[in-house]
Point group: C2
Chain length 266, copies 2
């Protein structure tokens, strides 16, 4: 297989750029094709069947572009569509949910909290993934449907966000967890606020970095690492809604302008 082929990274919208950013930092040689389904987001409030249909369509799109690996940078898609994505894909698939579960099992107390979207929580996927590594662990899940809209509003450190977070955290903290998985790619942007609320003894798992490490591990073991250096201009971004807003918020996520954003008409 041609090692210079790109890695396909996809999300319902913009949150997955936190994963793309971690990949670019950890694997600066690799070229990224990023897909954000901005015309149909969010996925986290929609049914499994609908999300799985969208995921299949995006997978097909990226496979046609000859990627050497797929990174599911959306917890909701990973929660409800991973078997279908894996079945369609002739190339390896890495997903943020499994990465989050792998990091969570470092918990010393064996009690883990998961903050995620409604669809992810309803799927029970985090419980299953964590129990695959540690069947003895206790997993407490909490849907946080307002976190993504609050992040999109830019209220990262706002009294409304703090009050909302207190409300969502209350039942999870009451269960004496020592680890909290940020189970949606929007949530790492709330990490400073959440860390302040839960205190220094709680481990916050942000799966972006863990995902990048998993990608690096797989590329290395399969001898698929790209050797030629990659310039930031070589990364490509595909979105389904007009790219103005994606470009603006995306530049904040990545810390630099996004030169090449293509509109996909579906």
């Amino acid at each position: 297989m041609d090692r210079d082929r790109p890695i396909g990274v996809f999300d319902s919208g913009i949150g997955g750029l936190t994963v793309a950013h971690a990949l670019m930092a950890a694997l600066p040689h690799e070229r990224i094709l990023y897909f954000g389904d901005t015309a149909r987001l969010p996925y986290g409030t929609k049914s499994s069947a609908t999300v799985a249909g969208y995921a299949a369509q995006i997978t097909e799109f990226l496979l046609r572009r000859d990627v050497k690996m797929l990174v599911v940078a959306c917890n909701t898609m990973a929660a409800v569509a991973l078997p279908a994505i894996v079945a369609m894909s002739p190339v390896p698939v890495v997903d943020v949910l499994d990465a989050g579960a792998r990091a969570a099992v470092a918990s010393r107390s064996g009690r883990v909290g998961v903050l995620a979207t409604l669809t992810t929580v309803n799927s029970g996927a985090y419980e299953r993934a964590i129990h695959e590594y540690r069947p003895d662990f206790t997993v407490v899940s909490q849907a946080c449907p307002l976190f993504a809209p609050l992040v999109e509003e830019g209220w990262l450190d706002h009294p409304v966000t703090e009050l909302t977070a207190q409300e969502y955290l209350k039942p999870v903290v009451a269960e004496d967890v020592d680890t909290l998985v940020l189970g949606c790619t929007h949530y790492p942007l709330l990490k400073p606020l959440l860390a302040r609320l839960v205190g220094p003894d709680m481990t916050l798992v942000d799966s972006a970095h863990t995902t990048a490490m998993r990608v690096l591990e797989l590329l290395t073991s399969w001898n698929l690492c790209r050797t030629a250096p990659c310039h930031v201009q070589e990364h490509e971004y595909f979105v389904t809604d007009l790219p103005q807003r994606f470009r603006a918020v995306g530049a904040l996520c990545l810390g630099r302008p996004l030169p090449d954003v293509h509109l996909v008409h579906w």
Copy 2:
């Protein structure tokens, strides 16, 4: 034209049921076909071009079902797609945005505030609609992107919602308006909280009732009123995501179960 044909009512999701509810109350003889694009909602954060494309698709769907009138029960679609909908439609079109503007011009001070989605505010459609009736009026618009998620979370009277509303209302109230248009069909569910915050001297315009009155007026003047009584079981609902959630929240909106919800595969 056959007066027994149904009225097509459409929205990005569930909010338009507040309009359908007002129609059922004011015109109990009429049969409603309701369409909610639950697989692609919300529209209020998406580009005009994308929303207009979705609106055209829904319009075509309802026209093929032989409706005698279209009711655009979504301010965002009315704001960015009304000319396209009207151009496609051989039957009369009534929309919530025009209904809201008609009600707003009863303001005594001539200073009107509009609370709406980002896309509606960016379109400037409320300013244009109000100025069409009263060019001398001052219109102050405020995007409230968190209101719809808060309503969907069911936090209708919650400290988080109150704090959010205070933040959004501050710049509008500072402009000395005497009338506040609830320019998104989710917002009437926040009316009690908003009324408490702005006090009894502010008129809150909820366009659902005004829309129903406009429909009644047009049906009467065109001699299109249905004569046969309509049973609640005759109304039909079409959604694009699995109908479980729509059915549950919809029953709350309408005060009775929704028997007939069809899934449309797009």
